[in-house]
């Protein structure tokens, strides 16, 4: 099992400034899943007990000289602590940027003997080489997942890629965040209604007050509705909903909301544009699925 690559400048920027800080808000521990073509950061895919989030990058968008090999069809997965990863990445990137341009930031999977231990442990190592010195940051990771576990992870990933038939797009995420911030104090459950006419309604109530927001004429992707709107309403945990809004730290350009088949989950798909254009950047994708507390009414 081998993995070795150089992080590109774009890769460092994407991970350090945008994705890892937002993924960290979702949960400190996540799976890093590497394949020949893609790198995934996955939350709660194996233990389905909260918000599932999937951040997917084409290898070219993060790495150069990408080399991976394993007996499991060149797929490697392990779990790691995102805060440690971010700390190591920040430190390595600052050294790398202050050194000469020839210096590059290498990332590789190694097995080392940790201090005060007789058992070698796996690490994800960042190595910055200069003319006179080399700086190495080791991020401890879990034992790589077994073939069966990787298979299970891949299956969950395939299931999670199943998108709702209708998605409505909100481009003013700041406004939505402000509002949800205020709603948060009022209740633990938020009701979300999405119609095929491009409406998104949010509502939270307690015994004293009901607070809601209705967004209309939103962009509709997928199935559009007739006059009846064909809406669906679900209830999700307020904590989960607010948490997935934290993905604005990854600076998405738009967020699409949709209810999964049979109202089993609320899916949020974040869209990223190619910088300086209105074209979707297909090398990066981020979406999450929130478990539904009550399917509500359709």
């Amino acid at each position: 099992m081998k993995f070795k690559a150089f992080l590109t400048e774009n890769g460092v920027n994407l991970l350090e400034n945008r994705f890892i800080p937002s993924l960290e808000k979702m949960g400190k521990i996540c799976h890093l899943y590497l394949t020949r073509d893609h790198t995934f950061f996955l939350h709660n895919l194996l233990f389905n007990d909260g918000v599932q989030s999937i951040a997917q990058f084409k290898t070219e968008s993060l790495f150069s000289d990408y080399r991976i090999s394993s007996q499991n069809d060149d797929r490697i997965a392990f779990s790691l602590d995102l805060s440690l990863l971010l700390r190591a990445l920040r430190s390595a990137a600052s050294i790398s940027s202050s050194a000469t341009s020839a210096d590059r930031l290498q990332i590789k999977l190694v097995k080392k003997l940790p201090q005060n231990s007789t058992q070698p442990a796996p690490f994800l190592t960042f190595e910055t080489k200069g003319n006179t010195s080399a700086v190495i940051h080791d991020v401890p990771i879990s034992k790589p997942l077994s073939r069966a576990q990787v298979h299970e992870l891949q299956n969950s990933l395939d299931d999670a890629q199943d998108l709702p038939r209708t998605l409505v797009g909100v481009d003013d995420l700041g406004r939505l965040m402000n509002f949800v911030d205020r709603m948060k104090q009022l209740g633990d459950v938020i009701s979300v209604y999405i119609s095929k006419l491009g409406e998104l309604h949010l509502k939270v109530s307690n015994s004293l007050v009901t607070l809601g927001a209705e967004f209309k004429r939103l962009m509709v992707v997928g199935e559009r509705g007739g006059n009846d709107g064909g809406g669906m309403s679900v209830e999700v945990s307020m904590k989960h909903f607010a948490k997935c809004l934290q993905f604005h730290l990854a600076k998405p350009d738009c967020a699409f909301y949709g209810v999964g088949s049979q109202g089993a989950s609320l899916t949020v798909v974040f869209q990223f544009f190619v910088p300086g254009s209105r074209r979707t950047d297909k090398s990066v994708s981020l979406h999450c699925r929130l478990p539904v507390l009550d399917t509500g009414s359709s």
Partner: protein, 363 residues
């Protein structure tokens, strides 16, 4: 309050069920399709009105469109264009987190009343002129209770959007709620439905009467008054307020762990003490926590404008503290007031506090 609320709801359910059946019985005679054609199901005590209005009026209502019926069915529909100003004004009488308030609606505007321990009462007068639109149709003045904290938090939700928001307030909603709705955008709308309650009877019927033929009052710069009261926090729980005509002076004195006396001398600094009316020496003690409530949450805009706060001593030592809060439209808001130092009274919210003295005049 909760008990009241529950019993109120129970009452409402039984009443509305009875009324709904009586209305159904009526319309099954008068025309089967009324409920459908009006588009409005009988709900809640609003429909008790149907009992009291004559049958000819009911027939006339049948002709009305559903929206017209809805419009006619609210006691108050008004629009606010400066939510932040109202939030400021209401926050100034919010001296604790969980606080119940009573709202009174009338043709002149809305009055919010907050009371504590029978010793402190505050009123915020939102005159109809501060609303962008004010439509009042009730016969008797509606009065209801709600949570002040929730009202302020909800209004805050509307004001954080980063641009001026126009919101509409309506009362009552289908279940006697106070309804708030943003109306400035077609594509996005925020709304809040605040449950209302039957208000607790005000345990202390304040009766502010002048202390004598000559009023006993003074007007002091708000910032200075607040600062003085803040400073009096450490000596103790009781503050003595004294007014004396010669030399004209207002004294605030706290005795407790230590003594602190603050004098506002009228002739020494007329900028600080703007006006002073007193023909005899009076002195009363007030609980510090009640006295501090009169200034502790005073909006920063009042401090910034540094208008005067008027303090009046009434019969029996009842203290009245009045503040003015400007709620000029955000688009028109300007740091300076006009050359006469005078702002349109119509865009001012009046706030009054009444504080009962601790003991009778010991002069």
């Amino acid at each position: 309050m909760y008990q009241h609320y529950l019993s109120f709801n129970l009452l409402r359910v039984t009443r509305s069920t009875a009324i709904a059946s009586s209305i159904k019985a009526y319309f099954s005679l008068a025309g089967r399709n009324f409920l459908h054609s009006s588009g409005r199901q009988p709900q809640g005590p609003r429909d008790t009105v149907a009992r009291h209005i004559g049958s000819s009026e009911i027939k006339a209502r049948r002709e009305m469109s559903s929206s017209a019926v809805d419009a006619a069915s609210v006691d108050l529909a008004c629009q606010l264009d400066n939510v932040q100003g109202i939030v400021d004004a209401l926050s100034s009488v919010r001296w604790k987190r969980q606080q119940d308030a009573v709202l009174e609606l009338s043709e002149h505007g809305v009055v919010l009343i907050v009371e504590e321990s029978g010793c402190l009462q505050a009123k915020v007068y939102l005159q109809k002129e501060i609303f962008a639109r004010y439509e009042y149709t009730a016969q008797a003045r509606p009065r209801f209770g709600l949570s002040l904290g929730i009202l302020v938090d909800c209004l805050n939700t509307f004001s954080v959007l980063g641009h001026s928001t126009i919101i509409e307030l309506r009362y009552p909603g289908p279940d006697m709620q106070l309804l708030l709705r943003s109306v400035d955008s077609l594509d996005a709308c925020m709304y809040a439905e605040i449950r209302t309650t039957i208000p607790d009877t005000i345990s202390w019927e304040y009766n502010f009467e002048p202390a004598g033929a000559t009023p006993l009052n003074f007007t002091v710069k708000s910032a200075a008054f607040k600062e003085a009261i803040d400073d009096l926090e450490w000596p103790g729980s009781s503050i003595r307020l004294s007014l004396q005509p010669t030399p004209p002076c207002v004294t605030l004195r706290g005795d407790g762990h230590g003594d602190l006396q603050i004098d506002f001398m009228y002739y020494v600094n007329t900028d600080l003490l703007v006006s002073f009316n007193c023909d005899r020496h009076v002195s009363y003690r007030y609980k510090y926590k009640f006295l501090s409530a009169t200034t502790s949450n005073i909006p920063s805009s009042v401090i910034k404008d540094n208008r005067g706060s008027k303090v009046t001593v009434g019969r029996g030592g009842m203290l009245k503290v009045q503040h003015l809060v400007s709620v000029s439209r955000s688009s028109l808001s300007h740091p300076h007031i006009d050359s006469a130092g005078y702002q349109q009274p119509s865009r001012i919210v009046f706030i009054e506090f009444f504080v009962k003295p601790e003991e009778s005049n010991d002069d």
